[in-house]
């Protein structure tokens, strides 16, 4: 099923939850709505589900305007952050609920319901829990049951609102992989909301990055991570170092460091910010005759194959400490120790003209 969202807006008093959102969800894809809290991602999901109404704009399912369709007629499966399982029912009855409440003619027979529920419980690998009550299950099990329950009505779309938000880190990781696999097996158009960028990058086919009711960028995990459209996306996705500099006629300066900035040939001595990912920072002991930024090692975290260095810049080009990631081999080669002076150079950086607080708003 395709979902199309046209010019959707929603206001809660003075707060703009959704500001003219346009989005096309492709059939069979797993889409992540990613953003900080208050970015409107949950509101968008709830409008798609029909749990919330928009002030203006349209929601189309398979090119058909469904904006005013009742929740019951949308054929949407919804999974809540806190599971919302029915406490007074067994796991079996929870999953069977959607089938049993169907009007007379469409309601399957008891045997069929039993078969279908059993299949679903097997799908989520919890068929041995059929007779238990929700409070006897762990969080991860409950969320899987919630998923089975949502799938029971054979929805055209599956919507998940922070599905792993209430779970601990280990279970969250397991369920993430499991959801991805389930989605690949079923090929159902799915949208999930998350504020966890790692989760979005790992699970989704495409990511919609949202901020303050607007879409900042839409793209594959690779695209949004490697080519962030703006400073907000840069800072929200993964760790990033920020340097202050200037751009002038196709060139940029960060301290003594000069880099090409062919995107800005017309710039006349503009303030600019440069973003550099930690793994794009080259660390050297000496200057090697090329310009670089001086820094002092504040902290070393050398667990695993990647060594993380926390550096204090000495050229005042970065307000915060700089993080660099180098391989263990390189770390040994340089024989770095806490307090050492090093010279750093970005291998790759992205420039955005203006000041940081301007760029982010």
């Amino acid at each position: 099923m395709t979902i199309e969202i046209r010019n959707l807006s929603r206001q809660f008093g003075a707060f703009t939850a959704l500001n003219n959102i346009n989005l096309k969800v492709r059939p069979g894809e797993l889409l992540a709505l990613l953003g900080p809290s208050g970015s409107g991602k949950t509101t968008l999901l709830r409008v798609i589900a029909g749990l919330e109404t928009a002030d203006s704009g349209q929601v189309l399912f398979n090119q058909e305007d469904s904006t005013d369709k009742h929740i019951r007629d949308r054929h949407v499966g919804f999974v809540f952050q806190h599971y919302a399982l029915f406490r007074n029912m067994t796991i079996f009855d929870n999953v069977a609920f959607g089938l049993r409440v169907r009007p007379g003619k469409q309601r399957p027979g008891n045997r069929e319901i039993h078969q279908r529920v059993t299949e679903l419980l097997q799908l989520v690998q919890l068929d041995w829990l059929a007779d238990r009550y929700p409070h006897q299950l762990s969080g991860g099990q409950r969320q899987r049951i919630a998923l089975a329950r949502a799938l029971a009505v054979e929805p055209g779309v599956l919507l998940l609102d922070e599905p792993f938000g209430a779970l601990d880190a280990k279970v969250r990781k397991e369920l993430r992989a499991w959801l991805r696999k389930l989605h690949d097996d079923m090929h159902m158009t799915s949208i999930f909301v998350t504020h966890d960028q790692e989760e979005a990058l790992e699970v989704a086919d495409r990511i919609v990055v949202m901020n303050r009711g607007c879409i900042e960028q839409i793209g594959t995990p690779d695209e949004v991570y490697e080519k962030p459209a703006n400073p907000f996306v840069y800072e929200f996705l993964g760790h990033v170092n920020l340097f202050h500099g200037r751009v002038h006629q196709g060139h940029a300066w960060i301290g003594d460091l000069e880099v090409d900035a062919p995107e800005y040939p017309e710039a006349e001595d503009l303030n600019a910010i440069a973003y550099v990912r930690p793994h794009d920072i080259e660390v050297n002991r000496t200057l090697n005759g090329e310009p670089a930024l001086a820094a002092r090692i504040v902290h070393i975290l050398a667990i695993g194959p990647i060594v993380r260095l926390e550096l204090a810049g000495q050229d005042n080009q970065s307000a915060d400490n700089i993080y660099a990631e180098i391989s263990k081999a390189r770390f040994r080669e340089l024989r770095l120790a806490k307090g050492d002076q090093v010279f750093i150079k970005p291998r790759r950086l992205d420039l955005f003209p203006g000041d940081r607080h301007l760029a982010l708003s």
Binding site: G77, F80, H82, Y133, H135
Partner: protein, 287 residues
């Protein structure tokens, strides 16, 4: 479980340690308090009754006038508590679910039957439902007589029982997560199915508690009923009134005999309600 093993292994006295101190003191005080306030007065009723011989006791408690009063007291109480259960649920639902002007005022009004002296309630209800009262003057031509009939007893008992149901159901309704209803709707349930299968089972334990409280209160009610009942022997006499009548005639043993019967019936009924409630609660276990 491992906790239990640890303790029984370590302390042969069987004494358990709890993070909450003062268990012995608190339990001792509770038992003493209950004895002083509840058990001793109640046992006095039994002891006093023992002055009667068995046939005397039997004749007193099965006199036709007394039996008629049992029927009225328990029948009207049951009817009033049942009506209160349904309408109390409705009132609680409206108060929790819908914003409307004057909501806080209505909410405060619910407690009025708690606070009002029962005799005031009785006089007010009588004035309204009497043949020349506000409502009575319209009901009487229709052939509906409320004041000075069993119907009046029912009205008074309904009045005093309402807050019990509303106040027990209200917090439970407030606590039901909106998400449960949303989940039900997403699965295709109608509003009615959502209420029937999701909301109602969740409030049922509280509803039975409210029902039991309203029922218990109605059985013991005296002040508000005697004015409106008219107290016609065999027709609109409630059992507590008969007890008072006997006391006024210095028939203390007879009064306590009836009291004992009431006590036993009330106890059995409350026990049954509690058992039902326990079952309901067991099925809809807390998360």
């Amino acid at each position: 479980m491992s906790n239990h093993k640890y303790h029984s292994g370590k302390h042969h006295s069987g004494k358990r340690h709890s993070v909450l101190p003062g268990f012995n003191l608190a339990l001792g005080f509770t038992l003493l308090y209950l004895s002083l306030i509840v058990l001793i007065p109640l046992s006095a009723a039994f002891i006093h009754t023992a002055q009667l011989t068995w046939p005397e006791f039997w004749n007193t408690v099965t006199a036709p006038r007394v039996v008629a009063s049992y029927r009225l007291t328990f029948g009207a109480s049951l009817a009033a508590a049942t009506v209160n259960a349904w309408f109390g649920l409705l009132v609680a639902w409206v108060l929790v679910r819908y914003p409307f002007p004057g909501k806080r005022l209505v909410d405060a009004l619910i407690d009025l039957p708690f606070a009002l002296p029962t005799s005031v309630a009785g006089i007010t209800l009588t004035a309204i439902y009497a043949g020349n009262g506000w409502l009575g003057q319209y009901l009487e031509p229709l052939g509906i007589r409320v004041a000075f009939t069993p119907a009046g007893v029912f009205v008074a008992l309904t009045f005093i029982g309402l807050p019990f149901v509303v106040r027990t159901v209200q917090p439970v309704l407030e606590d039901i997560e909106k998400e449960l209803e949303e989940a039900a709707a997403m699965l295709g349930a109608t509003r009615w199915q959502t209420f029937r299968y999701i909301i109602f089972p969740a409030v049922l334990p509280a509803l039975t508690t409210g029902f039991a409280l309203a029922f218990a209160r109605a059985i013991g009610e005296y002040g508000s009923v005697i004015f409106i009942a008219g107290n016609i022997p065999m027709v609109s006499e409630i059992t507590p009134l008969l007890i008072i009548t006997k006391l006024e005639q210095y028939d203390y043993a007879g009064a306590t005999a009836i009291a004992v019967v009431m006590l036993v019936i009330s106890f059995i009924l409350l026990l049954i309600i509690n058992l039902l409630q326990w079952q309901v609660r067991r099925r809809s276990t807390k998360a």
